[in-house]
Amino acid sequence: MRRTTDVALGLAHRQVTVLFKNPSLFIPPMLFPLMNFMAFAGGLSRLRHVPGFDFHGGYTAFQFVFVLLQSAAFGGVFAGFGIARDFERGFARRLLVSAPQRSGIIAGYAIAALVRWAMIAVVLTCVALVAGMKIGGNGVDLFGLYGLAIIFNQVGLLWAAGVAMRFRSVQAGPLMQTPVFMALFLAPVYVPLDLLSGWIHAVARLNPLTFILEAGRGFIQGEPTQVALAFGLAVALLVIFAVWARTGLRAAENAG
């Protein structure tokens, strides 16, 4: 167990150091959620006047939850790019040879993804508060919201890690991003679920991310809703993608 922790912490330290030394790796993932937040919360706030819009915490808070979850997922995905880059440059192969416990490799990347996203989350939250976001929930509610986002960050990382370890090339980047992007945007992004119509309503109703998103919005509004279901789904996704990442690691091991 200790050897797993050593590998994980050593790798996480290296990933975070690389990140800080390369602003080009760090700044775009930071800017992207901020831009989305400004564009959605600023440009679409009139949507709260649409008849049937029943979220009472203000449009800024409504969008903040989506962008927070999006930044969490993409924080994981961008960390997956780093894994693919490590394979392309040969570092990951050296890591496979030298690591006494290889499961620590996934844990190391996961810790680095969490640290990376934590910084984005702090900046995003500060910007949202400056923009006048109203928080109706108490400390426990916010703990729930950020807890969901943390799990979602790890889900994003595990998905991207599984892809990166199978393809071992940065060219797999679109494959890491696109499904996450689509899954996110097939949830009720701009208006509550009840205001969606047509095929997107049917898809959003079945999309697990809808429940996570709605629970997050419930937390920030101070009216928790579907909490057990949302956490259950988030943990289920975490387990599924942990298996996906572990089998990806095995594929990388087999590839030599």
Binding site: A39, G42, R46, H49, V50, Y190
Partner: protein, 255 residues
């Protein structure tokens, strides 16, 4: 000069379309976003004063702009690769003119822009978008879309010449995306509630490019919108070409 432009443009077009990984995502991503947003934001059509009851018709023009943005990346990264591999240096030893090089290099972006415009327009028509200005308007949409792709493509060339690396060009993308996001892409400017956002959208040329295209789709012949749309697109081409030309001289002098 014409022959030089033709040869370089031909190379640029062939190079772009030879790599499906280069042109398929820029072609399909705006379509995905159009499918999702046109349904996800349909509720916006219930807002008093919203100019149409079809959000797809309202959002369609943004796809042209988004496609053009991707085209700028392709033009920029391709030129950056030429710089990186020394192709530009070798070209500098030949009598090829700088202007021919620049105009030819955007061939790929223009070709892709034209293809994108045709695909997006066809998809819009298939899914029931009614072009208010008819067939003539549809042709004008294609023309403006190609001009916008040319403008963004030229901007990509300038970024490539300035940074000299594909990574450098890519790293500027969040800024370009930002320019498209802070515009009237999702709502008409008069319906944007947040004052600072509305003000930025009003001084953002991207809003006028979108509104020029949008006017042809949803509001008929609007001389002011068209003048602003075409004017800003041509201005973007002229400014970017000027900047790229100046940067090309610097880069050639360095080598």
């Amino acid at each position: 000069m014409t022959q030089q432009v033709w040869l370089i443009a031909q190379r640029s077009v062939v190079r772009t379309f030879r790599q499906p990984g280069t042109w398929i995502p820029p072609l399909t991503f705006p379509l995905m976003l159009m499918a999702v947003n046109s349904n996800g934001l349909r509720a916006a059509t219930h807002l008093p004063g919203f100019p149409t009851d079809s959000f797809l018709a309202f959002f369609l023009p943004f796809s042209f702009l988004q496609g053009a943005l991707f085209a700028s990346g392709i033009a920029g990264v391709d030129l950056a690769r030429d710089i990186d591999t020394g192709f530009l240096n070798r070209l500098a030893l030949t009598p090829v003119r700088g202007s021919a090089l620049l105009i030819g290099q955007i061939g790929g972006a223009v070709g892709l822009g034209a293809l994108q415009a045709c695909v997006y327009l066809s998809v819009g028509l298939i899914f029931g978008v009614h072009i208010d200005t008819g067939v003539a308007g549809a042709f004008l949409i294609l023309l403006l879309a190609v001009l916008i792709a040319t403008g963004w493509g030229t901007l990509g060339l300038w970024l490539a010449l300035r940074t000299g690396s594909g990574e450098g060009v890519q790293s500027q993308f969040p800024l370009l995306f930002f320019a498209t996001f802070i515009s009237s892409m999702n709502l008409p400017r008069n319906l944007i509630e947040v004052t600072w956002f509305r003000d930025v959208a009003t001084i953002n040329p991207v809003s006028y490019m979108i509104e020029g295209l949008r006017s042809l789709v949803i509001s008929g012949w609007d001389a002011q919108a068209l003048l602003l749309g075409f004017g800003f697109s041509l201005a973007l081409i002229a400014v970017s070409l000027g900047l790229a030309g100046r940067q090309l001289k610097v880069r050639m002098a360095r080598t």
